[in-house]
Each structure stands twice: as structure tokens, then as C-alpha cells.
């Protein structure tokens, strides 16, 4: 079959009417987007930048506090362990007295 025949069949494709209801959806989407933009634009670029930097600083501060607390806990545990070691080394109690076997 020649392609001309295929082209002729394709050209016979009927025209369609746009379905109802699309315009209402378009209007709704545009209105929602404009409302979102309106709220976003309440803050001009400078306050937006300040807010972003402040949020970043807050996150860094909270994270550092968390890290510091965790580090202090580790120090405290190590100190306690070293104290107990020193106590046993300095005491007269032998390994046997503590119930150990040679």
C-alpha cells in the first residue's frame, strides 16, 4: 500500500470539540497558584533571606547543643570509670579476695 492512502485515512480523522469543565479546572488552578504566590510575596526578598539564615543558625545551634550534651555524658562516664580503676589499684584488696581464682 502507498503511504498516500495512509495519509488520506489519517486526514479523515474527525474534528473533536473540547470537553466541558476544563475551563473551570484551569480557573481553579490559577486562583490557587495566585493565592500561594500572594502569601509568599508578603515577605520581600530581604526578610526571606533573613528568615532563611536565622533558620539555618537555629538548626546549627540546636545540633551543637545536642552534640555538647552527648560529649559531656561520655566524659562523665569515662571519669567515673577511671575513678573506680584508681580506687581498686590503690586499695589493698587483692584479686583473690575479690573472689577470683588463679
Amino acid at each position: 500500500m502507498e503511504y498516500n492512502e495512509i495519509e488520506r485515512i489519517l486526514k479523515s480523522m474527525p474534528n473533536k470539540k473540547a470537553p466541558e469543565g476544563i475551563w473551570e479546572r484551569i480557573e481553579g488552578t490559577i486562583a490557587a497558584k495566585e493565592e500561594k504566590n500572594r502569601i509568599f510575596n508578603i515577605f520581600t526578598p530581604s526578610p526571606r533571606l533573613v528568615l532563611a539564615v536565622a533558620s539555618l543558625l537555629l538548626i546549627i545551634t540546636v545540633s551543637s547543643i545536642g552534640i555538647k550534651v552527648h560529649r559531656d555524658n561520655i566524659h562523665s562516664d569515662v571519669n567515673q570509670y577511671l575513678h573506680e580503676m584508681a580506687y581498686y589499684i590503690n586499695s589493698d584488696t587483692s584479686w583473690i579476695d575479690l573472689g577470683g581464682e588463679l
Partner: protein, 186 residues
Amino acid sequence: MGIYIEPAIIDRFKEGDMNAFGEIYNKTKDMIYNVIYRFLSNEEDSKDVMHDVFVKVFEKRGSFRGESGIATWIYRVAVNQALNYGKRKSWFPINQDNIKANFYGSENSSDPEEEDKRLVLLKKLMHKLKPEFRACIVLKDIENVSYEEMSEILKINIGTVRSRLNRGRAELANLYKNEVSRHGIQ
């Protein structure tokens, strides 16, 4: 594109007037829906793409410089949107039965008994082509768009347009020949 829209309406549209945009929509909706439907052959997808096209047109209204008619500009946006949608969809296998059901079940489509069986088959086979080949066939063989306009719309040079069109036509003819000989459609 043969659709005239008064400059005053275009000016109001560019200022964001929804009534002016509504007038433009009413004048171009059928033309735009047709080209989208010819790319996608599916009513639900075509409605979604139509919605996205006009939302995009409204958002990008500032970039319309009036070098071409506004209908041509919207047409370009529609073709590109439909083409991108087709490319995204081509990542997933298309259920040919759904396409067929859509053609037959569509409220706007004609009775399958009356509709040329060869046209139904060709619509189905168009989906087996790569989106870029399908785009060239839709624009040239159905929509009668010139090579120059196709080159502008698809952002490829005229040589590539011709080459894609020839390859697409050859592939479609081949698919059609195989189907016809398999099912004996006259």
C-alpha cells in the same frame, strides 16, 4: 492558524485579566484540544494536558512577544506539552486494549461500526511509533503544518523534520502492512 484575536484582548490577557484569557480560551480550545488528542488518542490524558497547557500559557503570558499570533503561540505550547507527556508515558507500556476501548467508548467518537476500521487501526499503530516520529506525522499529515512551522515548534532544523517524517511514515506503513496482512482488513 486562522484564528483572529483582537489586540485589545491580548493586551488585557497580558495584564492578567481572566475574562480576556477566557475569551482566548473559547476561541482556541477546539483547535488545541484536537491537536493534543491527536498526539495522545486518550480523552482523560488530553483533558489533563489541555488544563496544563492553558495554566502554563497564563503563567508565561509575559514571554509572549507577539512575533507570531497568540493562537500559534498556544499551539506550540500544546504540541510541546503533548510531546513531553507522550515521552513520559512511553516509559510505561501502553495497554492497547485501553486505547481501543477509549476510541470505542468515547462520547465524541463516532460509532465503531461506522468508523473506518483502517483509521482505528492507524490510531492504534501511531502509539507504537517513537513520540518524535508521531509528532511529525500528526503535524504534517493530519494538521497540515508547514515544514518551517514544524521546525519552529519542535525546535529542530528542517532537515531533521524531513528525516523524522520519512522514518515515521516508513515505520507506520510497515506496521500497517503487517497488521492488515495479519487481520485481513480491507
